[in-house]
């Protein structure tokens, strides 16, 4: 053990530190520090040149003061001077000061870099390491510019000491992360990969971090590392615990290196080479087997290290998601951990199982642990473990266990920690809706939610229950009865009053036959809550009252009296006063017929209300709104607005205060004709394709809708909405993608990958927020396959994975060409070889309205030529597709047959693939 005379030689520092520790108050501390700062300043400014030791001592004191949380605005120069000292400790303190107090002062950076350069070329390994540590600690762009070229050379040079290699590898990694453009591996790639074979385990341990990072960014260039990693792993896994000497940690051979190797392999798909794959599977099996062996030590370090490797192996197995046998074994292993006495292992098992639940091979196996997980939710003492249990329940939920899981989550909510209630509420609401088979269960669940955790039930949730009740007539009576009962509780949450007011106002008549819930009883019950409620709720109740007058004429006198009272008609709140006045007048002058018409039952909720636009406008930039507006308009044209009619949790009725206007006075009244039948509406909501069907295949229903238009909503589920705005000129295009988070919870680890290059997006999407991504497109040659966009993010605990075809189609690069009839037919004849023509005859799947057809053909990008075809019913178009490689002239003829409801579409172009592709795309549009 080195003789440590604590703070050797720096007595002054030790005295200063004890002085600070003896300060009784913050003020005393500041006073002592100011005194010291003044002292140091005068020493630095003094005429007498300071010796290295004093300089070191004062710089160290400054560092201490800074680390205490005080600002330091001098001393940098003295620290830089220390760098060029030839005394090791002085240099060391100089570097430490620089590392902690980086200053972007360019003059200093130049001096610092100069000192580093000297140390790097000193050939003294201790100095070289100090310099490399400093670069890694600062990691600034200036340093990358100065040293990114030099460090790879040090890393792979044959005569570099091992310790220097280790520092160089990690230093390079840090520079690469900060300024990837400056670190060019090029010629070094293969020598760096071969560091995996280095004899020194420490070198491999350091180098593999660098290799993993580089591989994840450039998998192809580094793919030779896979087989090297597998053989290294295999050697470690099969070694006895003593073989690796000091790299064995508490009887576990090289845990850090093993984990890093397993992590590196997660940058790649399973190895294609059978032998390599076989060897790897063997390793994974050995690791799983070892978990069953009795521990070689009782120390927690032993089990932690061993299990760290096991969890990393399980991550790899889940990443491959292709070996059912290993997946199930992994699941069983985690199942054992669920009941382990170590809290840490229970926590990790719950967390890891969450990802396992989304694999088709192991979903069922995960489900078998439901009782244990529910028990964890109930009995774990630690909130973060309970949180993981809740996440796992959410992830393992499907139709078969939804009722049980929702019930357990609800009962957990009664005692849940405040920090996680809102998320829990949202999860329960989503599961209840997603897996509802009978809606009375759904209604019960949401009302329970409000009863148990009313404060945490966001507007979206209670709007949604109202929408569903309005749209499903088979649940209305039940809903009315249930809210009526719920309102009888002496204290009920305001959200319950809102739901109750709305539902009784609409459907109170369905329970009015029972004398226990006669109209007057209903009214008195609602009105008994009135005075305890906030203004928006009161406004809603007033609307419910006027609806009562229509539903139950016998309540008219009572209600009119309430409306007429001073507290209503002279209310200081303008909104309430206005409602009272207007409703009173309406009820006294309108005839029964007029009243019945005005106060008719709410029509089913249509596809989109103007209120969503209002919400969007409120939250997002003008660009996004115009996308929405255009989308609404165009969709209306294309398919009559009928096919995707799901108002969902967040889109619902979000007019600000006064919320949920019963009469729709404020928002444009929904047009009932445009709304699809309630049945189909709900089928859509409750279908499996909801948000938790996380790893569905490529979703391309949005894709074809964009052949003839450039803006709109590409994708939407309950969590995420993706809007597109794009523009094309010649062979170039630009596409803006807008990712909107529809929930109130943030998405973390948000990433998108395209099978071409894109700029990355922000990794975090806040609840209700939107991020934008721009993609520049150049059409090199004609193509069939659209680029694939892969979106990943975490919502709550569950990983969401969405694959979409980006609607980039060959026709986007059309330049319209106007031409006369003679020209057209001449060119048409020139393109008469059989392969130049593509033709399709197909049935009309939409109406054959002339204007719509024209709009679509124009949307295709071609010129629509008038007076060319002898038959005025037919359409002909011409355009040139611009690619970088060539231009392809293209002629089109569309012959509708209104009687047979059929079309014949003919395409001719100078390139067979183009004719075929445009024909295929267009045939789907009519």
């Amino acid at each position: 053990m080195p003789a440590v005379s604590k703070g050797d030689g720096m007595r002054g520092l030790a005295v200063f530190i004890s002085d600070i520790r003896n300060c009784k108050s913050k003020e005393a501390e500041i006073k002592r520090i100011n005194k010291e700062l003044a002292n140091i300043r005068s020493k630095f400014k003094g005429d007498k040149a300071l010796d290295g030791y004093s300089k070191k001592k004062y710089v160290c004191k400054l560092l201490f003061i800074f680390l205490l949380g005080h600002d330091i605005d001098f001393g940098h120069m003295e620290a830089v001077n220390l760098l060029s000292s030839n005394k090791y400790t002085e240099k060391q303190i100089g570097y430490l000061f620089i590392s902690v107090l980086v200053n972007s002062n360019s003059e200093l950076i130049r001096l610092i870099n100069n000192a580093i350069k000297n140390d790097l070329s000193s050939r003294n390994p201790t100095f070289m390491c100090l310099a490399l540590h400093c670069i890694a600690n600062v990691g600034s762009r200036e340093m990358a510019e100065a040293f990114a070229g030099e460090i790879p050379r040090i890393l792979v040079a044959g005569d570099t000491m091992d310790s220097v290699k280790q520092s160089a590898a990690l230093c390079l990694l840090r520079l690469y992360k900060a300024s990837p453009d400056l670190v060019l591996m090029g010629e070094w790639t293969s020598r760096v990969v071969h560091l995996l074979n280095d004899q020194h385990m420490g070198v491999v341990t350091a180098a593999i971090s660098l290799i993993t990072c580089l591989s994840s960014k450039n998998p192809d260039e580094f793919k030779t590392c896979v087989s090297l990693a597998v053989s290294r792993l295999s050697r470690i896994v099969s070694s006895a615990s003593t073989d690796l000497q000091d790299y064995t940690y508490y009887f576990v051979p090289a845990p850090w290196l093993s984990c890093k190797l397993l992590r590196l392999l997660q940058c790649y798909p399973p190895p294609e080479d059978g032998a390599v794959k076989g060897r790897l599977v063997e390793c994974l099996e050995t690791i799983l087997n070892k978990a069953q062996e009795p521990p070689k030590s009782k120390k927690v370090q032993h089990s932690n290290a061993k299990n760290a490797i096991l969890f990393e192996a399980i991550s790899l197995i889940i990443h491959y998601d292709s070996e059912p046998n290993l997946l199930v074994r992994a699941c069983n292993q985690l199942g054992q951990f669920l009941q382990h006495r170590e809290t840490n292992l229970r926590y990790l098992a719950l967390e890891s199982m969450c990802t396992l639940a989304s694999s088709e091979f192991s979903h069922e196996a995960v489900k078998t642990h439901i009782e244990t997980v529910i028990n964890a939710l109930k009995t774990e003492r630690d909130v973060s473990v309970r949180q993981r249990a809740a996440d796992l329940l959410y992830a393992m939920c499907d139709r078969s266990n939804a009722k049980q899981i929702v019930a357990e989550m609800l009962s957990y909510l009664e005692t849940a920690d405040y920090s996680i209630r809102e998320e829990m509420v949202l999860k329960v609401a989503i599961l209840a809706e997603k897996y509802a088979v009978d809606y009375s269960w759904y209604v019960d669940t949401i009302l329970n939610l409000i009863r148990i955790a009313g404060d945490y039930v966001s507007e979206e949730v209670w709007y949604r229950v109202i929408q569903i009740v309005i749209n499903r007539d088979d649940v209305q009576g039940y809903a009315a009865k249930t809210v009526f009962e719920a309102l009888q509780a002496p204290a009920c949450h305001e959200n319950m009053v809102k739901v109750g007011g709305y539902i009784l106002g609409e459907f109170g008549n369905l329970i009015a036959g029972d004398p226990r819930s006669s109209p007057l009883v209903q009214f008195n019950l609602l009105h008994s809550k009135f005075h305890l409620c906030s203004v928006p709720t009161r406004a809603l109740l007033l609307s419910a009252y006027i609806k009562f007058i229509n539903l139950f004429p016998e309540t008219k006198a009572t209600i009119q009296e309430v409306l007429r009272s001073d507290s209503q008609i002279r209310n200081s709140d303008v909104e309430l006063q206005q409602r009272a006045v207007e409703y009173l007048k309406l009820s006294s002058i309108a005839s029964t017929d007029v009243l019945a018409t005005v106060l008719e039952e709410m029509p089913p909720f249509p596809e989109r209300e103007s209120s969503i636009l209002a919400k969007l406008k409120k939250k997002k930039g003008p660009g996004a709104v115009s996308v929405e507006l255009e989308d609404g308009k165009e969709r209306g044209e294309l398919n009559g607005g009928g096919d995707r009619g799901v108002p969902d949790l967040t889109n619902a009725l979000s007019t600000p205060s006064p919320s949920a206007d019963l009469l729709g006075l404020r928002s444009a009244a929904p047009v009932s004709g445009a709304a699809p039948s309630a049945g189909s509406l709900l089928v859509d909501v409750f279908s499996e394709a909801g948000p938790a069907a996380a790893s569905a295949g490529v979703n391309d229903d949005g894709f074809l809708r964009f052949v003839c238009k450039n803006n709109g909503v590409l994708f939407e589920n309950q969590l995420l909405q993706i809007g597109i705005k794009s523009e094309y000129r010649q062979n170039l295009g630009r596409m803006y993608l807008f990712y909107g988070n529809k929930t109130s919870v943030q998405f973390v680890s948000f990433s998108t990958t395209l099978n071409v290059q894109t700029k990355t997006v922000e990794p975090l999407v806040e609840g209700g927020a939107q991020v934008q991504q721009v993609i520049n497109i150049e059409c090199l040659t004609d193509f069939v396959d659209a680029p694939l966009l892969n979106i990943k993010f975490r919502y709550g605990g569950a990983l969401q994975n969405i694959s979409l075809k980006l609607p980039v189609t060959i026709n986007k690069f059309f330049q319209p060409t106007e031409m006369a009839a003679a020209d057209f037919f001449q060119r048409w004849k020139q393109l008469s070889q059989p392969q130049q023509e593509a033709q399709k005859i197909f049935k009309a799947s939409h109406g054959m309205d002339t204007e719509v057809l024209k709009a679509k053909l124009l949307g295709l990008g071609t010129a629509l030529l008038e007076n060319v075809d002898p038959n005025p019913e037919n359409y002909v178009c011409a355009g040139v597709i611009q690619t970088k490689a060539q231009q392809v002239g293209c002629l089109l003829r569309l012959e509708p047959n209104a009687q047979a409801q059929m079309y014949r579409l003919t395409l001719r172009s100078s390139k067979d693939t183009v004719s075929q592709r445009v024909c295929d795309l267009l045939a789907e549009q009519f």
């Binding site: 201490f64 971090s209 850090w256 984990c259 840490n344």
Partner: protein, 152 residues
């Protein structure tokens, strides 16, 4: 093992060591330190050693009067991080001999040097206790000895 930061603080929430492996503005550093100390110190005894905070995993462990707490990327291995903390404690212990909080207060610069030998840029540089102790000792031997630059 990408670590974003490593903090050592006392039961009273006094920060004893702070190491930032990624660039963080000073204001944000203060906020993180505050969040970490309140979060970790507020935990009941015998709770698990892991937490989620924003999009980071937090791993902490208490050794005597000191809490060791680090922030990791979301996909990192918590158990391994726990052993990183442990190995660091072992290194401090070997160097100071029965290390205590006071050693770290009065010799904070040594604690930083030892850490630099072990972790660099948030990654494990060397795991062998022998190798690490040797190089820490070697630099101690250089304490006040002038190193004459080799002529080249």
């Amino acid at each position: 093992m990408t670590m974003h930061f490593l903090l050592l603080f006392s039961r009273q929430g006094k920060l004893r060591l702070q190491k930032w492996f990624t660039p963080v503005p000073e204001r944000e550093k203060k906020k993180i330190v505050r969040d970490m100390t309140t979060m970790v110190l507020g935990r009941k005894p015998r709770s698990c050693n892991f937490l989620h905070w924003k999009d980071l995993k937090i791993v902490y462990k208490k050794y005597a009067s000191l809490y060791f707490c680090c922030g990791l990327d979301a996909e990192e291995n918590e158990l391994l991080a726990l052993e990183v903390l442990h190995r660091y404690v072992e290194l401090l212990d070997k160097y100071f001999g029965n290390v205590c909080e006071l050693d770290i207060i009065f010799n904070f610069e040594k604690a930083y040097f030892i850490l630099d030998e072990f972790l660099l840029g948030g990654e494990v540089q060397e795991t062998s206790k022998q190798v690490l102790s040797r190089s820490i000792e070697a630099s101690d031997m250089l304490q006040e000895v002038s190193v004459i630059p080799r002529s080249r």
